[in-house]
């Protein structure tokens, strides 16, 4: 085996290892979404990058001994990566390492558990990065091809993860990815003691495959997940379970599961027993066996639309398990469009209810926003899913993009109404008031955009003891309709909150609130005094937009002292958990990145020339690349209809095309001025994207799925191709001037990537996606500036 063939095998090996690692990373994100909450996705990204950064430091410090043993160490690190992937997951579920997000509120020791949890997950990434990093350092002169192999493998890893989600359970996937990592080791085993290597890898591979089909661990769900609590009920059973990129879904039965959200106190009958569907351990919906059982909704605020009219054409958005669809069918609608993007949830709705055989119902497996963009139909009633959860969500939804709750979505919904049509949305009452106020604000801004000058004539809101249903009509409500609402409220002990001609007394008759704050704030919002409420209220009430689609993000940092004053030690519960976790992840990443990456490297920086250039050039790249990645993922959630497809398309697309860019760059004989030109081009491209990407995506919203895929690849690919060049070019440039700076540069890049992953999320919430793209352009501009800081002015021609 000559050196050339070894290098080719190494290229395939690095590609395979990268593929396994990205697939593992995505499966870990799903695993943590299941056992904890999806916010841990951010943590996983940070940990992965931290592993890469720390490995860079390790290589920088122990460069000579590591390179001396590289033939032995490369396959060893790959082997360890493969073993650690499932092993770490198993260890994290053991009692000594168990962590529970909810207990962060009450047990300080959980912070240490969280740290331990993170350190465990760090290990496989560290070994993987050691293998890749060593290969980079050893073959810096051929970095373009190696980087291509790394990025292309990573890109394919995204696609492999999607395939694995459809075919394997969350507990099985790490064994499969571990097996792939072993294969990568097998490709480059050294000649020395070859038989021992083959036997070791072979035995480990057999064990992994065996365990993949009979995994030793079950999913250690948090006791506070809805699924855990439901399974504690008598005779609760998981009847069916399936995995998919949308989530891990269970169909659960129990004789004590009942469904009647916000039931009127006047109801004296039997509340129906239901089955339930859970996705990633969270409640996904009730399953009613027949439309008759949905009759219980007659006793909830959501029945108000049906008191005023008998809509014939009904659109049910984010229809879930079909409860609202069944209700529309029960009430006599003749044409019902049921739109739900989750394939498994849709499947349960079809299999377990009578929806599929109901000829008034057409089921669409599609994202609601895409449906709204494509349909030309108009409806008598459009039903949106309930907002929030019973009693709130402890801020767990704060970081969830909710594109159906933006002003643009409401505008599209309004446009799809018949001239006398309604749309309705039910909100769980929270305290302090947030969800109902933001919905009132979103509706008011939509009506204002449509040129309606008397919004109070077009809005009705009915309140029970724990829910509010908003009803918006295209034309003003008539006196007969107003009276019908009053009768409905009297019969069911509900109170109208918004109604043309409403009196103060009738607002607080059956369900008395402590004060009038909810009413006065809603009135101010509707009457046009919104801006002052947005500015002065303790929580974010400004409606979500497609640029900042975080409807459930209410926290305003500047309000914390005031909340602390009012609620004392209870104010912790207002620091929305989702935001808190990203904040904690950011601070931890910052500290750990400093400790594990930068601090050790500063020890050896005296041997490094052009420190300023190296530090700034690779910092800018790490930050810029991550910012662009996060913006593209978020933008494509709306375009492709689901976060999983967006993550897969963007990560795969970016990495593959960056890999191609990297490969291409290795053929270029670029001087420093050439690098400047490439970075300048990236800055310009990102500036163009910051302004035009939303418009481009909107224009392509109506494309078919294949059209959308191609369009996505094009939009993601163009900047990615060029963004793949500066990193290998920079490393090559350094290696020819000062080889010792190479691992330092890699470490800096890793460090900034770590910090930027969570920083980008925080910035997206605070300033929006367009601004974040501008900041990405600024980061690349900083890299550009660094190119002017090189002390030795001799531009070295880079080798091909």
């Amino acid at each position: 085996m000559g050196a050339f063939s070894y290098f080719n095998r190494l290229l395939i090996s690095i590609g395979l290892l990268s593929l396994s690692m990205i697939a593992y990373q995505l499966s870990l994100m799903q695993y943590l979404s299941i056992v904890q909450w999806y916010h841990f996705a951010y943590m996983v990204i940070a940990i992965a990058l931290l592993g890469f950064g720390a490995a860079g430091t390790f290589i920088a410090i122990f460069r000579k001994p590591l390179l001396g043993q590289i033939d032995f160490l490369l396959p060893l690190f790959m082997l360890l990566t493969g073993i650690c992937m499932p092993l770490i997951l198993w260890l994290s579920g053991q009692p000594f390492a168990r962590f529970d997000t909810y207990l962060l509120f009450v047990e300080r020791s959980q912070l240490w558990q969280l740290l331990l949890y993170e350190l465990l997950f760090f290990i496989p990434f560290f070994f993987c990065a050691l293998a890749i990093g060593l290969a980079f350092v050893k073959y810096t002169n051929r970095i373009g091809k190696l980087y291509f192999s790394n990025l292309a493998g990573s890109g394919l890893g995204g696609l492999a993860a999607i395939a694995l989600f459809w075919t394997a359970f969350p507990t099985q996937i790490p064994y499969f990815t571990g097996f792939l990592a072993l294969l990568s080791a097998f490709l480059i085993i050294p000649l020395h003691k070859r038989r021992i290597w083959v036997i070791s890898i072979g035995i480990t591979a057999v064990i992994l495959i065996f365990l993949a089909f009979s995994p030793p661990s079950t999913l250690p769900l948090s006791q506070y997940k809805s699924l855990s609590q439901t399974l504690d009920l008598p005779n609760a059973r998981i009847e069916k379970s399936a995995n998919s990129p949308h989530g891990w879904v269970q169909y659960v039965t129990s004789p004590v599961l009942r469904y009647a959200p916000g039931l009127s106190l006047s109801f004296t009958g039997e509340v129906p027993v239901i089955d339930a569907v859970f996705s990633n351990g969270d409640w996904a919906g009730a399953v009613l066996k027949s439309p008759r059982e949905s009759g219980i909704l007659d006793y909830t605020t959501s029945a108000v639309a049906w008191e005023l009219a008998t809509p014939k054409k009904v659109l049910v958005l984010d229809a879930g398990t079909g409860v609202r669809t069944q209700y529309a069918s029960l009430k006599g609608a003749s044409e019902i469009d049921h739109v739900e993007s989750h394939r498994l949830v849709n499947g349960f709705a079809e299999d377990q209810t009578e929806l599929a055989s109901d000829n008034t119902v057409t089921m669409y497996q599609q994202d609601s926003r895409s449906f709204l963009a494509q349909t030309e139909k108009s409806y008598d009633l459009i039903s949106l899913p309930p907002i929030g959860a019973f009693g709130g969500t402890a801020g767990l939804g704060a970081l969830q993009e909710e594109y159906l709750l933006t002003t643009r979505a409401f505008s599209l919904i309004f446009d799809r109404l018949q001239s006398n049509g309604f749309f309705e949305i039910t909100v769980w009452l929270d305290y302090p008031y947030r969800n109902p106020l933001k919905i009132a604000a979103t509706i008011s801004e939509t009506l204002a955009e449509k040129g309606i000058t008397l919004p109070e004539q077009h809005m009705v809101c009915v309140r029970s003891w724990n829910t509010l249903t908003f009803l918006v009509k295209k034309t003003p409500f008539t006196p007969i309709e107003v009276q019908a609402v009053r009768d409905f409220c009297d019969r069911l002990y509900f109170d109208p909150m918004l109604l043309p001609g409403i009196t103060a007394e009738e607002r607080n008759r059956y369900n008395m609130l402590e004060d009038q704050v909810l009413f006065s704030l809603t009135d101010s919002i509707i009457s046009g005094n919104r801006e002052s409420i947005y500015e002065t209220y303790d929580f974010h009430l400004r409606p979500a937009t497609d640029d900042k689609p975080y409807f459930s993000q209410f926290l305003r940092l500047k309000s914390l002292p005031h909340l602390q004053e009012i609620f004392g030690n209870q104010s912790a519960s207002f620091i929305e958990l989702g935001y808190l976790i990203v904040g904690v992840t950011f601070i931890q990443s910052l500290l750990l990145a400093f400790l594990l990456i930068l601090l050790p490297l500063f020890r050896m920086k005296k041997n490094i020339m052009n420190k300023g250039f190296t530090l700034i050039y690779f910092s800018g790249l790490g930050m810029g690349f991550m910012f662009v990645e996060i913006v593209l993922i978020q933008r494509f959630v709306l375009y492709l209809g689901h976060p999983v497809y967006s993550v897969a398309a963007v990560i795969s697309g970016m990495l593959l095309l960056s890999g191609l860019g990297s490969w291409w760059s290795s053929r270029l004989k670029l001087s420093l001025s050439g690098i400047r030109a490439v970075v300048m081009l990236i800055v310009l491209l990102l500036l163009v994207y910051a302004g035009s990407l939303p418009l481009l995506l909107q224009a392509g919203m109506g494309f078919s799925i294949w059209g959308k895929t191609l369009f996505s690849l094009l939009l993601v690919g163009i900047p990615s191709f060029f963004m793949g060049m500066p990193f290998p070019l920079g490393l090559q440039y350094l290696s020819q001037r000062n080889e010792e700076a190479v691992p330092w540069a890699w470490g800096i890049n890793g460090c900034l990537s770590v910090v930027s992953a969570s920083l980008a999320t925080i910035l997206a919430i605070e300033v929006g996606f367009s601004m974040l793209m501008l900041l990405a352009a600024a980061a690349y501009f900083i890299t550009l500036i660094s190119c002017f800081l090189v002390k030795s002015n001799k531009d070295i021609k880079l080798a091909p």
Binding site: F105, S228, L257, G269, V271, F390, Y431
Partner: protein, 230 residues
């Protein structure tokens, strides 16, 4: 050897009483600083909370935090409520001797014990079997003969012993089961928390008025127990 034995015997005699004294002191402080300072005035509620040994009802790992001003996890996604909330809910139903109270969601058994100090009979239902058994044995051990624990679905209430003067629902629920309203005496009071676990929740009072009307009133933001059903 002799000295070690002597020390052991002395420890046996002294440690337990010292612990008891410490817990009694903690309870007194809990009542003074967490309840009275926040406006709980009902004498029978305050006396009951001074008497009930909360530390005996929490899991071993939580004993040292038993009298702290916060809820504590007791397993199965449930918590033992913050002392103030137990005091507040107790005071709201205006408990007195001669009353019969139904509790839905026994949990640790602490709320039932506090009620048992004041009213004649407490009927409590817990849907998680393990919690029901643990609470029942601990309450018996502590000598509460007027607390009746049932392992079952709180949805149906406890019809054989209805009607009740008051009902306390300790686990928040997205709907109020109609049988509970039926089993509440006319003029009776029901309290129920509304909200997600460990967050600020509303405490709601449901009143069944003599003319049959049912009204609700939101009382104050509270932190309470997570619910066990959707």
């Amino acid at each position: 050897m002799k000295i070690a034995l002597l020390i052991s015997v002395l420890l046996l005699f002294f440690i337990a009483p010292v612990d008891q004294e410490r817990y009694a002191r903690d309870r007194q402080q809990m009542v003074t600083f967490q309840l009275e300072a926040r406006g709980i005035k009902d004498k029978s509620t305050l006396t009951a909370m001074r008497n009930v040994e909360r530390h005996r009802l929490v899991p071993k790992a939580q004993v040292e935090y038993a009298y702290e001003d916060r809820p504590l996890p007791i397993g199965y996604g449930q918590t033992i409520s913050q002392p103030y909330m137990v005091g507040y809910m107790t005071e709201v139903i205006r408990p007195r001797a001669g009353m019969k109270v139904l509790e839905i969601g026994t949990g640790s058994g602490y709320q039932a014990a506090v009620l048992a100090e004041i009213v004649d009979e407490v009927y409590t239902i817990e849907i998680v079997e393990v919690l029901a058994k643990t609470a029942k044995s601990k309450l018996e051990e502590m000598g509460y003969t007027n607390v009746h624990v049932k392992d079952g679905d709180g949805y149906f209430g406890w019809e054989e012993h209805a009607p009740f003067d008051a009902i306390i629902v300790t686990a928040a629920s997205p709907f109020i089961p109609p049988p509970l309203i039926e089993q509440l005496k006319e003029g009776g009071k029901m309290v129920i928390p509304v909200g997600a676990p460990f967050t600020t929740q509303q405490l709601m009072l449901v009143e069944k008025q003599k003319d049959g009307t049912r009204k609700t009133r939101n009382l104050l933001p509270v932190r309470f127990v997570p619910f066990t059903r959707k």
